[in-house]
């Protein structure tokens, strides 16, 4: 899944370690989420979005899940 975490971090000059410590995860997990290897849980996604004062949709790109069968 694509995310804007890396650019948000760069804008606010925050390191991966600082973000990881603030949201209760590890630097390695932040790296994996940034490169799209790992999809964060709803709780972690919420914590990351809250950290940047944004909504989950503003941080995480859900466009690949837009086609939902109703």
């Amino acid at each position: 899944m694509k995310t804007k975490i890396k650019e948000l971090r760069k804008q606010r000059k925050i390191s991966q370690e600082e973000l990881a410590l603030a949201v209760g995860t590890t630097r390695q997990t932040i790296t994996s989420i940034e490169v799209g290897k790992y999809t964060a849980s709803l709780v972690l996604a919420y914590k990351i979005a809250r950290y940047f004062d944004l909504t989950i949709e503003e941080v995480f790109d859900f466009s690949e899940f837009n086609e939902v069968n109703k």
């Binding site: 590890t26 994996s32 290897k37």
Partner: protein, 149 residues
């Protein structure tokens, strides 16, 4: 975080106990105590392996004791340790690698192997080899998922 600090303190006590047991067994190993109670005379290689494993347990316990001791005094280090332990990705990788049951069973097998070594050589080698293969496979699966996720 205070609850976690208490948990770490309990672990420190356990590590201290394990280190003491390893040292105690090491002393008994060096003395002729086990020679008196064993059914056969263990060969040099077996005795050396047992001593090495015991030393390994002792050193590992002391290293953990040192690591926990530093974390208990520093809030940031404690938070990092907590995050590492409860990190969702790490937990998923551990689950996929069969942890913590794999570590528990391997630990029991190694410990049983050390004790059995004083009574029967074949049982000792079988238990240690099985535990080593189990741990190696677990480590390989863990490395695979750490790279994949």
């Amino acid at each position: 975080m205070e609850k976690y600090r208490k948990t770490i303190r309990k672990r420190m006590i356990l590590c201290g106990f394990l280190a003491a047991v390893a040292v105690g067994l090491g002393i008994l190993h060096q003395s002729e105590f086990f020679d008196l109670i064993s059914l056969y005379t263990p060969n040099e290689a077996l005795a050396g392996f047992q001593a090495g494993l015991l030393s390994g347990f002792g050193v590992l316990s002391l290293l953990l004791l040192y690591k926990y001791g530093k974390a208990v005094k520093d809030d940031t280090k404690l938070k990092i340790l907590y995050n590492k332990e409860y990190d969702e990705r790490q937990n998923l990788i551990r689950q996929k690698a069969g942890m913590p049951m794999l570590m528990i069973t391997s630990g029991i097998m190694i410990f049983a192997g050390i004790i059995a070594g004083y009574l029967n050589e074949i049982v000792f080698y079988t238990l240690i080899l099985a535990a080593m293969i189990q741990l190696t496979l677990g480590a390989m699966v863990k490395i695979y998922y750490m790279r994949k996720m």
